[in-house]
């Protein structure tokens, strides 16, 4: 297997952002999986017009991700998923306005039947063929097993750091892992200083993806005396796959990945989406949070529509934050302040 550094120099990045795309599957095809967290700075990348130029009615996360992904100098291909309409339309625009190969992966919205699991597994096969057409290698069983194992171990290592890092730093650690597939060893000790002080108020996060700039949210909460004890956003541990079933990796790798990703990650787009409610309720109970922060992007219908259901399902207060692309504005900061005041 190429080291990430060698592969990157050859422009082998397969960029995606959805947690339902198994990085190890792309790596097993000899390419570099790069789970991109949109920077969220200017929301358009490179020179010339970005493929997603419209702002009104368009999810800023999707817009930022697509514009940044296609303008990454090392991009070889982009993988999007069908879990929301906005991403599906984003794929249309990549295909219309750029030459970057785009793979639109069907991630079923329904779960629980063998047919949809088989559909997801078949999509993995199709993703593999996409990688091969871009110069990737066919999967060799031995290499596949070692890559899957490596990812599984690294994932556990990064998750184990949760208790030693502040929420913001842990989010950045997860981002690093998403991009590099490994833990950031060298900085680990330094990052550990971010733990909150005793007497802070435990809160949890739930919601869609965050841009790298929006990780500041965690710091703002910390400034107000919060300890973020779980990150149920798409950028947090909620969107991590389950442990791989090592006993079955050899004979049924796509089946194992289907179990760990498609069947294990709870998300709001799923129908019914009781899984994400169960995840949150368990997290709230086990971590004894006093409040939940619900983050969503403007024009993201699937998260937006559920805000009130989450509120109703909780016995603790919920703060609904709508993000509109840029940094947090003063109004959001003030609402956070008032929310934290109420939790004390």
């Amino acid at each position: 297997m190429d080291s990430p550094g060698t592969a990157l120099r050859r422009g082998k990045k397969i960029i995606f952002t959805s947690p339902f795309v198994p990085a190890e599957w792309i790596a097993a095809h000899g390419l570099v999986p790069w789970r991109m967290t949109s920077g969220g700075s200017a929301f358009c990348g490179g020179s010339g017009a970005p493929p997603v130029s419209v702002e009104s009615g368009v999810c800023a996360y999707m817009r930022g991700f697509i514009n940044e992904a296609v303008s990454d100098p090392q991009v070889l291909g982009v993988v999007l998923v069908t879990t929301c309409d906005q991403m599906r339309r984003g794929a249309d625009l990549i295909n219309l306005r750029t030459k970057v190969p785009c793979f639109l992966m069907n991630v079923p919205s329904t779960c629980g039947t063998p047919e949809v699991s088989a559909l997801y597994a078949a999509e993995l096969e199709r993703l593999g063929r996409f990688c091969v057409t871009l110069g990737g290698k066919r999967v060799e069983p031995e290499r596949l097993v070692s890559i899957l194992l490596e990812y599984d171990i690294n994932r556990r290592m990064v998750l184990a750091r949760q208790n030693d890092l502040s929420a913001g730093d842990f989010a950045r650690e997860l981002q690093f892992f998403g991009e590099n597939g490994k833990v950031r060893d060298e900085n680990f000790a330094g990052l550990a200083c971010g733990r909150p002080y005793a007497g802070s108020v435990p809160v949890g996060f739930i919601g869609g993806p965050l841009t790298a700039r929006q990780f500041d949210l965690f710091d703002v909460f910390a400034d107000h005396g919060a300890e973020v004890v779980f990150n149920g956003t798409e950028s947090g541990e909620r969107a991590f796959p389950a442990r791989l079933d090592l006993r079955r990796i050899k004979e049924d790798p796509t089946g194992v990945l289907t179990e760990a990703y498609f069947r294990a990650i709870p998300d709001v787009f799923q129908r019914p989406n009781s899984g994400i409610f169960a995840w949150m309720e368990k997290a709230v109970r086990s971590r004894q949070v006093r409040g939940v922060v619900f983050v969503r992007h403007l024009w993201c219908d699937k998260w937006h529509a559920e805000a009130e259901r989450f509120r109703a399902a909780l016995e603790v207060p919920l703060l609904d934050i709508e993000l509109d692309g840029g940094r947090m504005n003063e109004r959001v900061r003030n609402r956070i302040g008032a929310f934290m005041e109420g939790l004390r």
């Binding site: 339309r89 625009l93 295909n95 919205s109 047919e115 063929r129 993201c300 559920e306 009130e308």
Partner: protein
């Protein structure tokens, strides 16, 4: 009494005109019992205004009896559903797939399907005086969602359709608004049978291709998958009504559905290609909507459409119609949240010659030379929403050529998850292909406050086409 006799008795009806609801009611009362074949839903249009559909009072209607019947049929669906419930039928609330599930439901003797999605039009028809949007607002589903949020309000108020015995909803390659709101409906205690409609894709190397109605293709594996999903829907129906569905029953239902679809296809062709528009845009839009679920009475739908077609043929034969021969021939993309916009286009000098109201798959013929469930799987996959905007644009271009459309209007639906980007793709492709003016507008559920702006933009489009004609 025959249509012609009735028209003679009413005098002005023989000359195609657009009239107000008041004029219709006056004419109707003058004519007394002259309404042709009353199937139990005829009568004054004004009664629908009194029951809350106040928007009707601001529309212009075709003055034919066929159109009157069409409107009365459309606006009495709720009565039919309540009667069906009283008669012991099982009510199926089909959601989102637009056109496929009702064909299955109609194959059963005692199932009646309707689309709660139809509440999409209620903010327009009722001018939101039933407060459905306010209910949705209270549930946190605000105006950043498309008008289908009125469906949530309707489920809560329980006033616009009876509670279905079973809800069936397609998800996957569908819009976010609907999927989100259907989940909220389920959260209110209405269990939903969800079935998966994947994003349509080209066949993989080595995979057999399946041709879909409307010309798109999909991998055979996808067709088999959707077929299995529809089989789950059938299992759900069978459990509801204890009747086992056979291929023969399903094939017979497809045969009947195709009769409706061919009649509608002929109606559209006749209207779009006539020198003078023999039917206004508004009535044709309503006629197209009947193909989705037959307003809960498929046999009567066919009667209504056949009468419209007869009227259109009769008018074309006499060389009479609407809007003058120089009316600009417009292809319209997406349904309008406010029906009034259809009148407005005509007032500005346009006429409709081609449509894609997001349910072209409900208009195309269902294949009848393959196993019936496979045929329906192909129909479901042909949904324009399940494919790319590029494919949708290609079909639009093809239909524009077939119908001689001179301009394209992309009507954006406020809050709809697909509109902003899909409109971009369609506009770019159609513009790149030739000298066809494209206009993107947004039409809210009640467009009165924007009417001035909309009028100016529509008039400018009409002017552009007329100038292009001169240059040719």
């Amino acid at each position: 009494m025959s249509l012609c006799l009735a028209e003679r008795a009413l005098g002005p009806v023989a000359v195609p005109r657009q009239i107000t609801l008041e004029e219709w009611d006056e004419a109707y009362e003058r004519a007394g019992s002259l309404e042709p074949r009353d199937a139990g839903y005829g009568g004054l249009l004004g009664r629908h205004v009194r029951s809350g559909n106040t928007r009707l009072a601001r529309l212009q209607f075709d003055n034919s009896f066929a159109a009157l019947k069409l409107w009365n049929f459309l606006l009495t669906e709720e009565d039919r559903l309540r009667q069906a419930r009283l008669a012991g039928k099982t009510l199926i609330g089909a959601m989102k797939d637009l056109g496929t599930v009702p064909v299955i439901a109609c194959a059963y003797p005692d199932l009646v399907a309707f689309y709660p999605d139809g509440a999409w039009w209620l903010p327009c028809l009722l001018e939101d005086n039933a407060g459905l949007l306010a209910i949705a607002d209270r549930l946190g589903v605000d105006e950043s969602f498309c008008p289908v949020r009125a469906m949530l309000g309707a489920f809560v108020s329980g006033e616009h359709f009876p509670r279905p015995d079973l809800l069936v909803c397609s998800v996957g390659a569908t819009c976010d608004d609907f999927s989100a709101i259907a989940q909220r409906v389920e959260g209110l205690g209405h269990p939903v049978l969800w079935w998966e409609l994947p994003q349509r894709r080209e066949p993989e190397p080595g995979e057999k291709a399946a041709l879909l109605p409307g010309g798109a293709r999909a991998g055979a594996g996808q067709v088999a998958f959707v077929q299995a999903e529809l089989a789950r829907v059938i299992t759900g129906f069978t459990m509801q009504c204890n009747v086992k569905l056979t291929d023969r029953m399903l094939a017979a239902s497809i045969h009947q559905a195709n009769k409706v679809r061919s009649c509608l296809a002929e109606l559209r062709r006749a209207v779009f290609t006539a020198g003078l528009a023999p039917l206004p845009a508004l009535e044709l839009l309503v006629a197209e909507m009947l193909a989705l679920h037959y307003c809960s009475d498929r046999a009567e739908t066919l009667v209504v459409l056949e009468e419209l077609l007869a009227t259109v043929r009769e008018r074309t034969g006499r060389g009479v119609g609407f809007h003058g021969r120089d009316a600009v021939r417009v292809f319209w993309v997406n349904p309008v949240a406010d029906l009034k916009a259809m009148n407005l286009l005509e007032e500005c000098g346009g006429r409709i010659c081609g449509t894609d109201y997001l349910f072209t798959h409900a208009l195309d013929q269902i294949p009848d030379d393959i196993p019936p469930l496979e045929a329906l799987a192909r129909v479901a996959l042909a949904d324009p929403m399940a494919g790319t905007a590029q494919e949708r644009a290609q079909r639009i271009q093809r239909d524009m050529r077939a119908f001689g459309s001179e301009a394209l209007i992309i009507s954006r639906i406020p809050g709809a998850s697909h509109c902003a980007l899909e409109g971009e793709v369609i506009r770019e492709i159609v513009t790149a292909a030739g000298n066809c003016p494209v206009l993107e507008i947004e039409v809210p559920s009640v467009c009165d406050p924007l009417q001035g702006t909309l009028r100016t933009r529509l008039e400018a489009l009409v002017e552009t086409v007329r100038n292009q004609r001169k240059e040719r």
